[in-house]
C-alpha cells in the first residue's frame, strides 16, 4: 500500500503549490473536527513579518561557521527571525528602526572567485534584502562590533578596513552609495562622535578623531592616554548616547571615560578591582586576580549607568578567557554594586537599554542565556542560540 499511495502522493506533493497560487487545494475535504490549536482545516502557506527593532530584543551572530544573526525576544526567549549574515560579517541597526545593515564580504565561488564587499540592506519588518551597496574593502575578522558603526542620525556608515593598510570606508546610507576611504593608520575600534564624525583608538595610546568623514575627513590625535601594548584597552567599548560619553576597560581593568566631541576628553582611569574592594590588577606574571576578559567583555545600560563586565580569575594576558562572574559597575560612583555568578563560563555579554534590563550571554557551545539584569537570575536558556557577538537596538 505504501508503495502505491506513496508514489501517487508524490505526484500530489510535486503539485501541492503553496499560498495564493493554489486554491484547488480546498478540494480536499477536511476530516471531522478535533481539538487542535492549529485546527484541522486545509491551510495555505504564508510568510510572517515582525515589528521594527524593539528595546527588549537581542541579536546574536551564529558564529564562525554558522551564518545568520538570530533575533530573540528577551522576555519570552523566543526567536523572532534571522537576519541573513555571512561569515565574518558585521551588523549595524538603523537608528530609525527601518533597516538592518550587514557589512559583508562574499566570494563569487565560496572560497574562490571574485571578492565582493558590500553593505547588504534588509528591511527590518520583512527581513527581505532591499539592496546591496558595494564598498571597496573591509577587515576580515570575527567577534567585533566596532568595525561597522553608524552616525547617530543613521545617515552614514563607517566600515573599518585592513588590507593590511588601516582605513575607514564611508558609506552614504541615505543615497545608498560608497563615498570615500579615509586612511587611518595605526588606529581601529570606531567610536560614535555625533556632530563630528567618528573617533578611534590608536596604537600610540591616543584617540584619533575624524571630523567630517564624508567631506574633508580631517584627522586629529589627542594626547596618549593608555598603554596600547602594555595594557591595551578592549575595543569592545560602551557608549552612553545621552552623555555622549564612551567608556573603556583595559586588560588590567582600568576604566576610562571619554567625553566625545571635536577633541574628546579622557578621564583619569580608575581600577575595576579597586571599585570592588580589591587591590588593582597588574601586568606582571604570577599575580592572580580577577581580570576582565572574553570576546565581548562589557555591556552598558545607560538608564542605570551600569557597566556589566565579564570577569575571570587568572593572570595577566588571559584577556580572552571566558567570564565566570559579571561585575556590575556603577560608572559614575566608581563602585562595583553587584557581582553575578555565572553557571558556566561565557564569551559574550550584552544588555538591553531598558529600565529593567535583561542580560544575554552565550558560550562556546552556542548556548544562550537570558538573565535578569539586577539579580542575574536565569530567565531563559536557548540551545544553539549562536556563539557570536550579541547586539541590542540602541536605546532612545
Amino acid at each position: 500500500m505504501k508503495s502505491y499511495s506513496g508514489f501517487r502522493f508524490g505526484v500530489v506533493a510535486a503539485l501541492a503549490l503553496s499560498g495564493p497560487a493554489l486554491y484547488g487545494i480546498a478540494a480536499f475535504a477536511p476530516a471531522a473536527n478535533a481539538k487542535d490549536p492549529n485546527g484541522l482545516e486545509p491551510e495555505e502557506s504564508d510568510t510572517a513579518t515582525i515589528e521594527a527593532p524593539q528595546a527588549g530584543w537581542f541579536y546574536v551572530r551564529g558564529g564562525w561557521e554558522v551564518d545568520g544573526t538570530a533575533i530573540y525576544d528577551g522576555k519570552s526567549g523566543k526567536m523572532k527571525g534571522i537576519v541573513a549574515s555571512s561569515q565574518l560579517s558585521d551588523m549595524a541597526i538603523d537608528p530609525a528602526g527601518k533597516y538592518y545593515y550587514i557589512s559583508e564580504t562574499i566570494w563569487s565561488k565560496g572560497n574562490r572567485g571574485t571578492r565582493q564587499d558590500m553593505v547588504s540592506v534588509y528591511d527590518s519588518q520583512t527581513l527581505k534584502l532591499v539592496t546591496e551597496i558595494p564598498i571597496p574593502s573591509r577587515i576580515l575578522v570575527d567577534e567585533r562590533k566596532q568595525n561597522f558603526v553608524l552616525s547617530a542620525d543613521g545617515r552614514w556608515g563607517f566600515i573599518y578596513s585592513f588590507s593590511p593598510a588601516q582605513a575607514v570606508n564611508v558609506v552614504d546610507l541615505a543615497k545608498r552609495k560608497f563615498v570615500k576611504t579615509v586612511e587611518l593608520p595605526g588606529c581601529a575600534a570606531l567610536i560614535p562622535n555625533p556632530g563630528v564624525g567618528f573617533s578611534a583608538l590608536c596604537s600610540d595610546g591616543t584617540m584619533a578623531t575624524v571630523t567630517d568623514p564624508a567631506g574633508k575627513a580631517a584627522i586629529t590625535h589627542g594626547p596618549a592616554f593608555f598603554a596600547a601594548s602594555d595594557d591595551p584597552i578592549f575595543e569592545n567599548f560602551a557608549y552612553d548616547k545621552a552623555k555622549n560619553t564612551a567608556i573603556f576597560v583595559s586588560y588590567t581593568g582600568l576604566v576610562y571615560t571619554a567625553k566625545m566631541g571635536a577633541s574628546p576628553e579622557v578621564s583619569a582611569p580608575f581600577s575595576l578591582q579597586e571599585a570592588a574592594g580589591y587591590a588593582p590588577a597588574v601586568t606582571k606574571p604570577l599575580s592572580v586576580a580577577w581580570y576582565p576578559g572574553s570576546r565581548q567583555p562589557a555591556a552598558y545600560n545607560a538608564a542605570s549607568g551600569e557597566l556589566f563586565v565579564l570577569m575571570h580569575m587568572g593572570e595577566y594576558w588571559s584577556h580572552k578567557a571566558f567570564g565566570d562572574e559579571i561585575w556590575v559597575l556603577d560608572v559614575a560612583a566608581r563602585k562595583v554594586v553587584r557581582r553575578l555568578a555565572l553557571k558556566e563560563p561565557v564569551g559574550h555579554i550584552e544588555v538591553t537599554q531598558q529600565a529593567e534590563p535583561l542580560i544575554f550571554v552565550n558560550d562556546e557551545k552556542s548556548e544562550g542565556m537570558i538573565l535578569d539584569g539586577r539579580t542575574g537570575e536565569e530567565l531563559h536558556r536557548i540551545e544553539t542560540a549562536g556563539s557570536g557577538v550579541i547586539s541590542v537596538a540602541s536605546g532612545s
Binding site: S18, P42, E43, T47
Partner: protein
Amino acid sequence: MKKFDADAVCEKLLRKQAGRTSRRSLISRLGIALVAAPVFPLLPVSRAEAAKPDRSPEAKTAFARSAQTEDDTECTYWRYCAIDGALCSCCGGGIHTCPAGSEPSPVSWVGTCINPDNGKAYLIAYRDCCGKPMCNQCLCDNTDRETQLYTPQLNNDIIWCFGTQSMQYHCSTAVLVGGAE
C-alpha cells in the same frame, strides 16, 4: 491507510495552474514527472491494502503512539511524523508560516500523520522555508514512512526549495493539506 483520489486532485491542480505564467518553468519541469508516472507498474499488493486502513493502537508507529496535539514547537507534535529540519514554529514562523524574509517552497515532501485526538490520518505537506540561513532551533528528524531518493516525495533529506528566489534552507513547516481518507 490513505485513499483520497490522487488522480482527480492532480487534474484539478493542473487546471488551476494552466493559466498562470509565473510558475511556468516549474510546471514544465513537473510535467516530466507527471508524464513519466504512469510508466511505473504498481505493486499488486498496493490496492488491496489501501482499502483497509488500520488505525488501531497496534497499527500505530512509535511516533504516532506518543504524538501530541498541544505544542507545535516540539518534535512530538502529531503533524511532524516525517519532518526533518528546524521547526519554523521555533524560528519566528508557525506551523504553516515561514519566518520573516523566507519564502515557502511551492513543492514539498509529504507525510501521512495520525491526529491522536480523533484517530484520523491527514496528508501533511512539509514545505521548506527558503532564503535565510538555517534556523538551528528545534531540530527534528522524524521518519514515519520516509523513504529514499528514488521516491523523492517521501524523502525528507532533500532541500525542498524549488521555485523560490533562494534555495538556502531555513526551516520546515507542516501544512495540513487534507484528510488522507
